[in-house]
Every structure is written in C-alpha cells, then in structure tokens.
Amino acid sequence: MSGGLFLQSLILGVLLGGLYALMAAGLTLYFGVMRVVMIAHAAFLVLAGYLAWFFTTRTGLDPILSLAVTVPAFFVLGVGIRRLLITRLKPATMTMMSVLLTFALALVIEGLLGFTFTGVQRRIRTGYSSANFEIFGAQVAVVKLIAFVLAVVALGSLWFVLKKTSLGQALRATIQHREAAELVGIDTDKVAGYGFGIGLATAAVGGTALALDATIYPSLHWHWIGPMMAIIVVGGLGSIPGAAMAAMALGIIHAFLQVPLGATWAQTVFYVALFGTLMVRPQGFFGGRLAQRF
C-alpha cells in the first residue's frame, strides 16, 4: 500500500468512524435508559435521509437545513413511541420483546417509505455533491467531511447535554441506577422518555449526514442495522464513549479493507468483530463496568 493510499484510507476511515459513532449513539441511549434493542433505529436514519432529500428537492435549500424540522420532530416522535409502545412491554422481557416490536416498526417505516416515495433510488443533489478537496495529497469528498462535522457537532452536543446539564445528570443517574435515581427525586419515567427522544433525534442528524453521501432506498436500513449493532456490542452495550471508540476503530479498519477486498467484503469486518467480541469479551471492550451488569 502506497503512502498516499494509506493516508487516503486513514482519512476516509476517520470520517466514516465519526458518522458510525453518531449513528450508533442512539442505540446505546435506548438500551441504557430502557434496556430496549431498537432495531428500527436504522429505519429512522433512512427516514431522516428521505425527509432531507424531499426537503431539498422541494425547496431547493440545503439539506442540512431540514434538521431544523427533523431534529425536534424526531425527539417528539421518540418520546411518543416510548410512551405509546415501549412502556406496554413487561419490564422482565423488555429487551427481547423490544426486538420484535421495533422490528415491526422498521417494517412499517420501510413500507411507508416505499408507498410514499416508491422504491426508486434517490440521491441528494447539492452544489457541493461531487466536489473534492485535497488534504496531504489525498482526495476526499466534501460531503464526507460535512457528514463528519455534523457527527462531531451532534456528538459534542450530546456529550454536553449528558455531562453538563441537569437533564443529563438525571439521565445518566437513571441509566446507572434507576431506583437510586428515583430516590434522589428524579422523575425517571419522564427522563427515560427524554432519553428515547434524544436517541431518535440523533437519528435525524445521522440519517441526514448519511444521505449526503449515499443513495437511499426504502430497504437501505437492513444494510446498516447489523454494523450498528456490532458497534454497540463491541463498544459495550449502553456505553456512548465505548460505542464511539468502537465506531472509530471499525470505521478505520473498514476503510483500509475496502482497498484490497472491495466494499461488500469489507463490510464483513463488523460481523467478524461482533463474533470475536462475543467469544472473547462479551461485555464489550470499552463499556466494561456498566455492561457487566446485564
């Protein structure tokens, strides 16, 4: 591998890793606050991508501006889904039943997308869609950089909310010890709802970022849910920093493998990592303490 190609792969890997980290962040939140495995998360990513595409083709404005609508809408949708659907599941079987429930949700979203927008592949076109820039001699697509910046901003905001706000403290307390959180006066039910809403709001940003650089179609989410699940298991279920580090590591490996193996085979890195993790260290590599309790 030449020096130029190496650098190109590394940059590509970091940019992809950032995007993966954002796409997986929501999954760790759902699991953290509710023990819910949200199979429909990727479908919501695709939904957000469609909404961005629709917004741009209708208004001619930049797709990123659609976030002003989709982020709050997804937050409210998340709060609603938890209240109306998830809370109906029994706590004892929550994790298992949530897989079935959200699987159905994913099918519904896929069906609605197909019904509304047909199965035709769509792609967002902007003035910068095919632009490249050069960094250290490597050519990188501008949209990839924008997606990465979106991811960094979204994850930074998420970090800020979780670490520096009172809601974030309450959310982390609820994740770490629900009964104790209740006993210091946190309304854990409300907080869990917000946690779900924030998780879905990250899907709005992640889906829009993804759609900047990818062709979208209703069944695209099946392509993404596997890698995202792999990321959160490798990172340690429920750990956002863990998911981010796993996403970065797998993003970089993925980018490097694309050169010799091609896109399809490179994808297997996620499954290899998933199986490897389950065999060697089922609690994940970064989420240690918290994940061990489940």
Partner: protein, 247 residues
Amino acid sequence: MASESPPNLLELDRIEAGYGHAALVLRGLTITVPRSTIVCLVGPNGAGKSTVLKVASGMLHPRGGTVRLDGHDVTRHGPQQRLRAGLAHVLQGHSVFPEMTVGENVRLGAYTVPDRATVATRVQFVQHLFPVVSEQWDVLAGLLSGGQQKQVEFARSLMIDPKVVLLDEPSMGLDPKATATVFEQIERMRDTGTAVLLVEQNARRALQTADIGCVLDLGRVHMSGPAPELLDDPELSQLYLGGHVAG
C-alpha cells in the same frame, strides 16, 4: 402544651403489600416512628423488612392501608413527592451511580434542592462528616470499596437534610470506624428531631442504639417495645439476635 405538628413523623397503618400477583408480603402491618426516635426493625431474611421501607418511601404502592408523613396522607404519592416532604431512603446493597464521581453522586442527593448556597453548605457538612467523600471527590464512585460506597450513599441521603430517614442495613460491609460514624450520625439525627427507621442485620448493635424495636414476622409486627427490653427478652434473643443474652 398543644403541639402544631403531629408527634409521629412516619406512620404505616395496616399496610398490605406485595409484588405483582404473588402473595402478600406485608399483611396488615402497623409501625409508627415518632419525632426524635430511632425505630429498629428486625426479622429473618425475607421477612419483608426492605418491603416496609419501600412502601414508606413510595417505591412500592401498598394494596391496602395508609402511609402518613408528618400527619399527611401520602399513600398515593410517589418517591419524589415524599422526598420533597423530607423523606430519605438508603437502599439495601449498593446504590451509588457507579460511572459518576463521588462529587456528582453527593450533589445528585440535592437534586430537589434549588438553592445553591444551601447545597454548598451541605456538601461541606457531609465532606466533613465522611472524610472519604472529600478525599475521593473526583473519583468514580464505582471504583470505591463497598464500605466507601455505602458512606457516599449515606452522605447523598443527608443532602436533603431529611426529617425521616429509612436506612436498610446501613452498616453492611462497613469497618468498625465507618460503622461507628454511621451510628453516630443516626444518633445525631435523632437528637436534632429526625425520625429514623432502621433495618439492621446486626440487630444487637442496632437495638443498643435504637429507642424502639419491632420484630417483623409473617408480614406483621410480631413484637415491639422499648429497645432495651427487647434486648433482654430471652425468646427474642434466641430467635433473632443469635444466641443468649450475656450475663
């Protein structure tokens, strides 16, 4: 002299409670905890001691009976409302937030206290009381030893300056020095008017500190009275305190 506020800070009146569809754990249990009093609840494993505290703090809603806090019926209130009314509950086992620092844990104890100056004063107070809290302030609570975590939990519960404190086996896993600190605190709280409902596995030690003892069996208070009398009761000693009274 007629007092404005009722003498009993906490009253559990003919409580019936259980989990889900399983059989009742508490069957018509009545306990009152007066102001400036330590009531100690003893009983075998699984007798329902922790359940009593859960009903008192609102974590478990009873199927029958009434819970009164400072004279007000709070049976339908959740834990937050009871906390605001001055009730603190330290759970059995470990209940720190493990991925947060000791400081964050203690400050969360004052989640419902809006005044920053009050919070700052109480932080200083608990830091002074439990050296481990100030020494390990920036350390993740999950990394502390079991006994240190227990002290953090106790410190956290003191942040609301509670009127009623429910303690579920507070000395479990503590070394003699930390146990002494906890018991000293319990006595200090009693002396400043707080009502304490204490569950202890170390029943003999607890009854030496407590004013009133209650023996829980088959979901009811099987026997209750002044703690020194219970300590001297031969039957009780045999059954629940493990062994005979000395002398």
